[in-house]
Symmetry: D2
Subunit: 192 residues, 4 copies
Amino acid sequence: MTTVLLTGFDPFGGDDHNSSWDAVQLVAREWATEDILVTACLPVEFGRAIEELIALIDQHSPDLVIATGVAGGRTLVTPERVAINLRDARIPDNAGRQPIDEPVVAGGPDAHFTRLPVAEMVARMNGAGVPATVSLSAGAYVCNDLMYGLLHALAGTGLPAGFIHVPDRADLPTVTVSAGLRIAIEVGLEAD
Amino acid sequence: MTTVLLTGFDPFGGDDHNSSWDAVQLVAREWATEDILVTACLPVEFGRAIEELIALIDQHSPDLVIATGVAGGRTLVTPERVAINLRDARIPDNAGRQPIDEPVVAGGPDAHFTRLPVAEMVARMNGAGVPATVSLSAGAYVCNDLMYGLLHALAGTGLPAGFIHVPDRADLPTVTVSAGLRIAIEVGLEAD
Amino acid sequence: MTTVLLTGFDPFGGDDHNSSWDAVQLVAREWATEDILVTACLPVEFGRAIEELIALIDQHSPDLVIATGVAGGRTLVTPERVAINLRDARIPDNAGRQPIDEPVVAGGPDAHFTRLPVAEMVARMNGAGVPATVSLSAGAYVCNDLMYGLLHALAGTGLPAGFIHVPDRADLPTVTVSAGLRIAIEVGLEAD
Amino acid sequence: MTTVLLTGFDPFGGDDHNSSWDAVQLVAREWATEDILVTACLPVEFGRAIEELIALIDQHSPDLVIATGVAGGRTLVTPERVAINLRDARIPDNAGRQPIDEPVVAGGPDAHFTRLPVAEMVARMNGAGVPATVSLSAGAYVCNDLMYGLLHALAGTGLPAGFIHVPDRADLPTVTVSAGLRIAIEVGLEAD
C-alpha cells in the first residue's frame, strides 16, 4: 500500500489563514485513489516544524513526502529546487523567535537539493492549466528550515521528499493550487 | 441570435507569438453554444487596430465586444477598468510608429471607464480557479489605444464592450486563460 | 515670493510609519532656498484628505502643489500621470470607511491628467541617481482620491499640481526619496 | 598595497549593454584611493567566465574579489548569499550553450555561501541612499556559475570573495549602482 504525506502550515504574521493548509485540505477532501493520504498542519516555528514532520515520517513510513507553505507575492505554484543552511527571519516565528544569520544545522552542508522531480512536476502542472515554475530559493524562514531539516534527515535514504511553495489564495484560487498539488503527488509517485 | 466579438493581437516586440490570440483561438475551437462567436486578430498598430475593430462591429453587430491583449509580467487575467487618452510608447508599434505623449483622440476626455461588469467577471473567474483581478491601467501602448478608441466610439450606445489583458502563456497556461475568457463572455452576456 | 505646498500622508493599514511623510519631513529639514515650503501630513480618509488640501491651498496660495503618498511594493519614485473618478478600497481608510466602486465626484469626468511635467521630473531624477518612472495608475484608494479631488478643484486654473507615489523606506531609502522630491519641486517651479 | 578585483559581464540575450559593466566602469573612472583597482568584463559563457576570473586572481593576487552581473527585473542592489551547484539556462549563453539541470562542478557540494559580509554591505548601502537587500538566489545561469566556481576554487583560502547582482540601468541609475559597489568595496576591505 502506497502512503503519501502532505503537509501545510499554520497561519503566521497576523494572517487568519494559510493558503497552503487550505490547499492541502482540499486535496484531502477530494482524494479518490486507493493510496493512503496523510495530511498535517505544521507549526510556524523554527526547529519544531522539522521535529513534527520527522515524527510523522517515523509514524507513517510514507513513500512520498511533500511539504508545502505559502509564499506571499508569488503567483505561481513553485516546487523548490534547494534548501539552504540558513535561518534569517524578518519577522518572529509563532513562538516569538527570530533567528538572524544562524544555521539550520550547525556544521551541516550549505545546502541540500530537493529529492523531487520538480522540473517534471512543473511541466505537468502547466500542461494541465496550473501556473507553475521551479523556484531556486525557499527563503530563510520556517519553510526553508523545514525543507532543509527534512532533506538533511533523509540524506542517504531513498525516500522522495521536498517542498512546494504556493501563492496566497488571493493570487491563485485554492482549487487551482490543490490541482497542482495532486499533479505533484502523481508525478512524485511515478518517479518513485 | 446573440453574437459575441472577441479579438486578440498579433505578435510584437520581437515575440513569435501573442498569448492573447492563442487564448482567443482556443475559445473558438471549443465554442459549444448556439451563440455566434466572431474572432479576429488585430494589428499592433496605433489607430489601425481601432479602425479594424470598429469595422468588425459595423459588419457583425455584436451584442458583446471583448478585446484582449497580452501584458508581459502580469500573472493574472486582468479585465481593465479604464482607458486613458494617451499614446506613450516605449517601443515602436508594428508599423514603426512610436508616439510619445500624444492623445488617442485629440480633444477627447482624459479617460473612459469600461462598459463591462469587470468586478463580477473577476469574482466568477476566481471562483472557477482562474486567477484574476481588476486592473486600473491598460498602459499607454496599442492595447490602451484600442480600448480607448472602442469606448470612445461606443459612447452613447448601450453596447457592452471592454478590454481584458492576459498573461503570457509562460506565466499562465493558455487553457486557463481561455477558461477565463469564456467566463468573461458568460458574465458579459448575462449583464447584457 | 514663491510658495511650494508639499504633503505626505499619515500611517495606515497597521503600519507605524508612512514613508511619504518621512520623505517630506526630510525635504523640509534640508530646505535651503528662499522659497517658502509649506508641508502637511494629511489624513488617510476618503474626502477629508481633499478637504484639508484644498484648505491649505486657500490659506497659502502656493505656486506649486505636490501631494505624495506611499505605494507598497513599488521600488521607484513614480509621479502619477492620471487620477480616475473611482473609489474602490481593499481595506478601510483610517475613519473605517471602505467605499466599493463609487465615484470620487458624482458626475465628474472619468479621469483628470496631472498638471505636473512628470516626464521631465522623471528624466531629471534618473539623471541624478534617483530611480523613477512615470506611473499610469494612482490606484483607487485615498491617494487617487486626493489626486482626483485636487485636479478636479483646480480645473480651469493655471496652478501646477499633482501627485507622486514613493516606495516604502524599506525599498528605497528616505534620503533618496527626498532627493527625488526636491528635484520634482525644482522641475515644477521651472515649468511654472 | 591593497588590490581589489571588480568584474562585470558582457551584454547577452540580445541587449546592447550590460548594466553591471556600466557600473564597474564608473567605479573605475571615479576611483580615488591609493588601493589598486583591477576591473574586467567577463564573457557570458558557462565555465569560461570562471576560468578568466581565476586567471585574473592568479595574476593580480587581490585582497578582495567582487564579481557583478545584471539581474533584469530587480530594482535593488543585491549581494548574493549563496551559489548553487546547478546550471539550468532558459536561454543559450554567448557561446550558444544551454545546459539544463547540470552541475557546475560534478561531485561538488550543493552550494557555497558567500565569503563577503553581505548584511553589513546592505546596511551601509541603504544608509547611504542606495536601495539594497541581500538576495538568496543568484539564479542558475552564468552569474551563479561564476559565483559557484569562484567560491569553489577559493574554498580553504582566506580570500574574501562573492557576487553582487545589480538592476538594469533603466531600473536604477548607474551612478547609484556604482555608489553601491564603492560601498561594498569599502565594507569588504574593512572586514578583511
